[in-house]
Subunit: 396 residues, 4 copies
Amino acid sequence: MSIRERLSGNEASAIAMKQINPDVVAAFPITPSTEIPQYFSTFVSNGTVNTEFIAVESEHSAMSACIGAEAAGSRAMTATSSNGLALMWEMIHIASSLRLPIVMPLVNRAISGPLNIHNDHSDAMGIRDSGWIMLFSENNQEAYDNLIMAHRIAEHKDVMLPLTVCQDGFITSHSIENIELIEDDKVKQFVGTYNPEHYLLNAKEPIAVGPMDLQAYLFEHKAQEADAMRNAKKVILDVAKDFEKLTGRKYSLFEEYKLDDADIAIVCMNSTAGTTKDVVDNLRNQGIKAGLLKIRVFRPFPAEEIAKALENCKAVAVLDKAEGLNACGGPLFTDVTSGMYVNNLNIPTISYIYGIGGRDVTTKHIESVYKDLIEISNTSKVNNPYRYLGLRRGDK
Amino acid sequence: MSIRERLSGNEASAIAMKQINPDVVAAFPITPSTEIPQYFSTFVSNGTVNTEFIAVESEHSAMSACIGAEAAGSRAMTATSSNGLALMWEMIHIASSLRLPIVMPLVNRAISGPLNIHNDHSDAMGIRDSGWIMLFSENNQEAYDNLIMAHRIAEHKDVMLPLTVCQDGFITSHSIENIELIEDDKVKQFVGTYNPEHYLLNAKEPIAVGPMDLQAYLFEHKAQEADAMRNAKKVILDVAKDFEKLTGRKYSLFEEYKLDDADIAIVCMNSTAGTTKDVVDNLRNQGIKAGLLKIRVFRPFPAEEIAKALENCKAVAVLDKAEGLNACGGPLFTDVTSGMYVNNLNIPTISYIYGIGGRDVTTKHIESVYKDLIEISNTSKVNNPYRYLGLRRGDK
Amino acid sequence: MSIRERLSGNEASAIAMKQINPDVVAAFPITPSTEIPQYFSTFVSNGTVNTEFIAVESEHSAMSACIGAEAAGSRAMTATSSNGLALMWEMIHIASSLRLPIVMPLVNRAISGPLNIHNDHSDAMGIRDSGWIMLFSENNQEAYDNLIMAHRIAEHKDVMLPLTVCQDGFITSHSIENIELIEDDKVKQFVGTYNPEHYLLNAKEPIAVGPMDLQAYLFEHKAQEADAMRNAKKVILDVAKDFEKLTGRKYSLFEEYKLDDADIAIVCMNSTAGTTKDVVDNLRNQGIKAGLLKIRVFRPFPAEEIAKALENCKAVAVLDKAEGLNACGGPLFTDVTSGMYVNNLNIPTISYIYGIGGRDVTTKHIESVYKDLIEISNTSKVNNPYRYLGLRRGDK
Amino acid sequence: MSIRERLSGNEASAIAMKQINPDVVAAFPITPSTEIPQYFSTFVSNGTVNTEFIAVESEHSAMSACIGAEAAGSRAMTATSSNGLALMWEMIHIASSLRLPIVMPLVNRAISGPLNIHNDHSDAMGIRDSGWIMLFSENNQEAYDNLIMAHRIAEHKDVMLPLTVCQDGFITSHSIENIELIEDDKVKQFVGTYNPEHYLLNAKEPIAVGPMDLQAYLFEHKAQEADAMRNAKKVILDVAKDFEKLTGRKYSLFEEYKLDDADIAIVCMNSTAGTTKDVVDNLRNQGIKAGLLKIRVFRPFPAEEIAKALENCKAVAVLDKAEGLNACGGPLFTDVTSGMYVNNLNIPTISYIYGIGGRDVTTKHIESVYKDLIEISNTSKVNNPYRYLGLRRGDK
C-alpha cells in the first residue's frame, strides 16, 4: 500500500533522497532548491539515513565532492538551482565525462542576470549538451517518481551517466500537493545497491581517474559517452516498466495527452503541462481536437519518437521557458523541429517563448496558443515562427 | 597600404587588441589562449597601449572585472579557452544580460574531462544560448578581421551585446601564416571611440546596474536581448561592408565556396573550412559539384539565410567539432536542420561529429564525407544521420 | 585500571579526542598534524564517536566552522600546524574574543618560509597574544593528558577561552612511546558535558554573536578577556588536582625538575625537556646542582610563579625554539626576564635560540648550555645574552 | 625649500608613495587604510607615477603579489590595517624570510573580534616577531618621513627586510594637520634606485626563490635574518642622519622628550605621544620632572638604548594600546621590562593598557598615570603592575 501525503516538490525530493539513502550528499544552498539539502540534513542529523553530508563551501565544490565520492565507489547526490548550477558548470562536464552516475534534483530558476529567483528553464538549458540525462517533472509526484527511478537509469552498465531531475522552482518546489509515496523498503529494493565495476577504493584494481586524454583517445571516449546517452532511452523505458509494476504509475519518454487524434498540439515541459491539460480538456469539450506532448526525457532527446507522435498534427506549438537568444527560437523548439526534419515531417510549427523569470502562465495564454494553431492549421501559413506568450508588447 | 606579416592566430589577435587599444583587459592564462594576454601585457608594459591590465585571480574574476569595467563605461576585453570559459560561465550570462559589449577572443579547446588541451568546439557550444554574438574564424586573418569588426558590432545601439571571436586552438592559434594587417590609425578610425548611452561613471545620470529583476520585468528584458541578437545580423553585414571598403576583404554571415551550383555541400566552421576548400577544388576538377558553407556568424544563427543557400543541394553534411550528447547529432547540425525545417526544405542532411579533442582532420576525411553525400544524393536515402568522422571504430 | 599502550603523539591526541567525543570537528590536513583528523575521521566513519566531521576547504574555514559550532552551543575541535595556523590566524582572534572554548591540538612546525615541515615553535609563538590558553607537552602522555584536561579549563565559567595543546612535530607527534590511557567512561565523566550559558541555538534566549563593538565597549570586553586569562591559572591548577586524583599524574603550571636547590637552571618547553632531564641527571651525578623548569602553561604566563621558582638560581638559560627576530632574544626569554624584572630578581639570564626548522638537539647541546651557566654563575658576568645553540657558525 | 601643506596621515602616506614611485603596488582596501591605495591609484591613473597597480582579490593576494614583485627584482608596496593584516599573516612571514624589502604603511586598527574599526595597536603587535622592521609615527609628518626613509633602511645590503610604517587609524590617518613635504626630486635622489643583488628576472643569474629549506639550513637562514634585524639599528640611524641633512628633522630609535633629568617617565608609541607631551609640559610648569620616551623603532627593539635612557628614572609607566592577554601586561611593557632586566635596571615599572578599540585618551588619563608614578616613586612600591587606563570599572 502506498502512502498518501501532502508535500511540496522540495519535500518530495528530499524524501525520495531519504529513501534512496545515498552514501554521500554534498550541497550548497540556493533558492529555490535550498529546502532539499535542508530537509535532507535533518535526516542525516536524526540518523534516518546513513549518508555522509558534506557541507561544502560553493557549488563548484559540491559537484567536485560528488565527483570524488562517486569515483571512490559510492552513491553521491546534490541539489541546486540557477547560478548554483552555473558555478558548478565546469564540474558538470567532468562528472559526465568521467561516467559518474551522480543524481541531482535541479529546481529550475532563471539564470542571472539581472537577478531573479523565479522559475524558468534557462538553467537547465545551459547543461543540455553536457552529457547528463535530464528528466522533467510536471508536479511533486513526478519529481519524486523520477528520483526513485534515477539511479536505476544512471547506474545501468549501458549508461553510466549522471542524471538530473528538473521541476519548476516555487511553482512545484514550494506548492503543497497530494502525492503517493512508496514504502521505504520497496524503494530500497527497487533502487538496489550500487556496485560499480571500477572505482578508486577497490584495492584489487588500482585505477587512475581523470588523467590526460589527448588526441589519441578523447574522441573514442566521447563517442562512448554519446553511445551511453543513446542507450539510456531503452534503459529509461525498462526502468519505467518496472516502476509501473511497483506503483501502477506509467512513465515513458514523454506523455501524450489526447494526442492520438489531435489536429493541433502543444509540446512543453514541467508544470505548464498541467495548465495545458486543463485547456485541452476544455477545447475537447468544444469539439476541438487539441493535444499535448509533455516531454519527460529531455536528454537523451527522443526526436524520432516525438516526430512519430506528432506526425498527424496539422500545427504544432513548442513552448520554451527559456530564450534561445540565437535569433531562431527556443532550445526545445530547435530540438523538436530538427527531429521533425530528420524524420521527414512538414507540419507548421511555432516557437513560443513564455514564463521567463517567473512570469505567470495561465489557461488564457495556453488557449491563445491553441487559437493560433487553429488559424495556422486552417491556412498552413506561418507568419512568424518565433513568438512570445505573455510578453507585455505587441508580439502577443 | 596594408602591412604584410607572418603571425600566429594568437599573435594576430593580440595585435588586433593592441590596435583596438581597449580601456581594460582582465585575463587569466589558459592553454591555448595564454599567448593573447601574454603578448598584450607586453604592449601594456611597453606603453604601446593605454590599457589598464587587471591580473585577476581566476577566469570568474576576469569576466567579473570586464563586467565592472564595461558597466563603468569603458571598453573591456579578455581572452580564454575551454575550462577558463567554464569557470566564467556564470558571469558570461551576466555580461550579456546587462547588455555589456565586452569582446573576447575564444581559442577553442575541448572542455574537460578527461583533461585534453587540444582543439574542438565543445567550449564554444556551451555558451551558444548565453546572449553572446559568436564569430568563427578559419585562419589568423579572419581571427584578426573579426576582432577589428567586433566592437562596431557589439557596441552598436541596436545590439549592445558581448561578442566572442573563435578560432581553433593550436591549429590556427599557434600556426604562423601570412596575414595582412591594417595600419594602426585606420583601425583606430574604423573602430571609433566607445560612447555608451548609460554608464556608472556618468555623474549626470546616476544608475544602478544589476538589481533585482523579478516576474514583472525580466521577460521584457530578455525579449529585448533577443531582439538585439536578431538586430545583430544587419549590423554585422553593415560593418562588413565598411570593412570591405577599408580592406577589400569581404565578409558576410557565412562564406559560400562554390556553393551556387553545388549538388552536395558541407557546412562547417573554423579551420576545417580550409581543408574542405582544398577537397572541393579537387572534386570540382573531377567534375563533381561539391560546395562548402562556412559559418562565420554562429550567433545570431542565420538559419533562414543558410536554408536559402542550401536549397538547391541534393545532400548536405553538417560537421560538428563537438558531441551534442543529446542522442540526435551535433549542435550545429541541430541548428541547421531546425532552420531547414522552418524554411520548408527537405534535403537529406547528415550530422558528422569529428575532430574531438584535437583528432586530426585530413582531406581524406573530408573526401569520405563528400563520397557519402554523393551516394545519398543518388538514393535520397539516409541510413544513419548521426555519424562520426575519423573515429577508430566501425561507424566510419 | 589505566590502559597501557604504545602510541605516537598524534595517535594519543586523536584518542583523547575520541574519548572527549566533541560535537563537531572541522579540520584541513597539514603536516605533521594531518594524522590527528585522519585518525579521528575513522572514528567518525566507524561510529565510535557522535561527532559531526566537517571536511572544510581551508584552515581559515576550519576555524570559522569551529567558531560557528561553538557559538551554536556545541563542543568543537580542530587540529593544525604551522601555515595551517597562519591561514586561520584571523579567525584565531575571533574565536577567543567571542569567548568560545574551542580546543585545538597544535603540532608545532616551523612557519614558512622558506618551506620547512619540521619542528620548532615559531607557529605557536605567533598566537601567544591572541587570547588562547596554551599548554605545552613534553611527550605523548602529556599531549594526551593536556587534551583530557582541556575542556574543563576552557569551558570553566571563569575562563571561557579557547585552548591549544602543543607538542613537537615529528619528535613526539610521530614517535611511538609508552603511554597510559584513561578508560573511556572515566574520561567521559571527567570531561563532563558542555552546558554553555549563552548560545545561538537556545530558543529561549535569542542572542547575536559578533556584532559591531565600537569605542564604547570593546575595551571592557578585552579587559574581561584578560581577566579570564588571569582566572585560568587557578582553574588549570584545580583541574590538575582532579586529574591527579583520577590518574595519579601530577600537573602544575610548570614542572620543576631538581630545581629546588639548583644553582643553574634551564627553562624550556616541549620535548627538549626530556633531553634536558637526562643531562640534569648526569650533572647531578657529577655533583653539579643543575635544574630544569619546564613550562607547561605558556598562556596564561605564570611569570610570578616562575620568578619565585628561579629565585635562588645563580644563572638561568631560557631556550627558545623560535627566533624572536626582535634583536633582543627569544619570546620565552622575553617573557621570563620581564617576569623576573617585575618580581625584582637579578639573576644572569641568557637567551638561547635552538632547534629551528627541525635542527637536532642533543644532550651535548644541553650540556654546553649548563657549562655556560656554570661559567656565568662563577663570574656573574654575561658577555652576550642572545645566543644560538647548534648553529653552524662562530656563535656557539 | 620644503612644501608646506595640510594633509591627513593617509594623504601624507600616499604622497610619500607617489614620490617613492615604486614599481608595483598591490592592495586590497580596508578601513582605515583604504584611502592610501585609493589616493595612490589616482596617481597611477593620472600617470603621475610609473607604478604597476595590481588590484588583488584579498590581502593574502596583496602580500603574495608584493612578494612576487620584489623577488622579481622590483620595488613593491602595499598598505593595510587590522584584519587585512590578519589575512595576509601567512605571507607576512614569507616576505621577511625571503628577505624581500617590501614597504607597507600599516594604519593601526583593533583586530576583530568583535568587529571594531577604530584604533589600537593589536594588529601591529601580531606581527612583532615576523621579521619586519616596524616604525611608529606620532603624526602625519612622521608617517611621511618614516616612509621616505623606509626603502633606504629595508633595502640596505646589511638589512634586506620588509618594513612597516605604523600610524594611528583615524586619529592621525584621517586628521588633517600641517606637514612639510620634501620636493619630489629630492625624495627621488634620497630614496635612490633599487638594485637588488639577486632577483628572479636577472637573466644572468638563474635562481630559485622559496624552495624547501629543511633541517640542514633553515636555522642558519633564520640566524641571518636575526642578524639583519640587529644590523637594522645602525642603518636606521645612518639613514636618519642623512634625512636630517636633507630636512633638518631629526630621528633616532626613539624620541626622548624632557627625559634627561626626568624622575618619572612614560613610554608609548604613535599619537598618544602628542597628548603626553602636552601633559609633560604642564607638569614641568608645576615643577614636576616628568618625561616621555616615544618609541619610533619598535622592531628591531632598542632594548639596551631604552634601558640606558630610563636608567635615572624613579618610576616608569609603559603604555600599551593592545592587551597582551598573557596575564602579565602589554607587549611593549614586556619588551621594555625584559630589556631593563637584561641591562640590570631595577626601577618600578607599570603596564598600562589603554585606548583599546578607539577608546579616547585624554590629557586627564595621562595626568593620572604621572600621578601614579609620583606616588610609586615616593614609596618605591608597586601594588599592581598590570593596570588599565580609561576602563569603565574599578581598576582605574
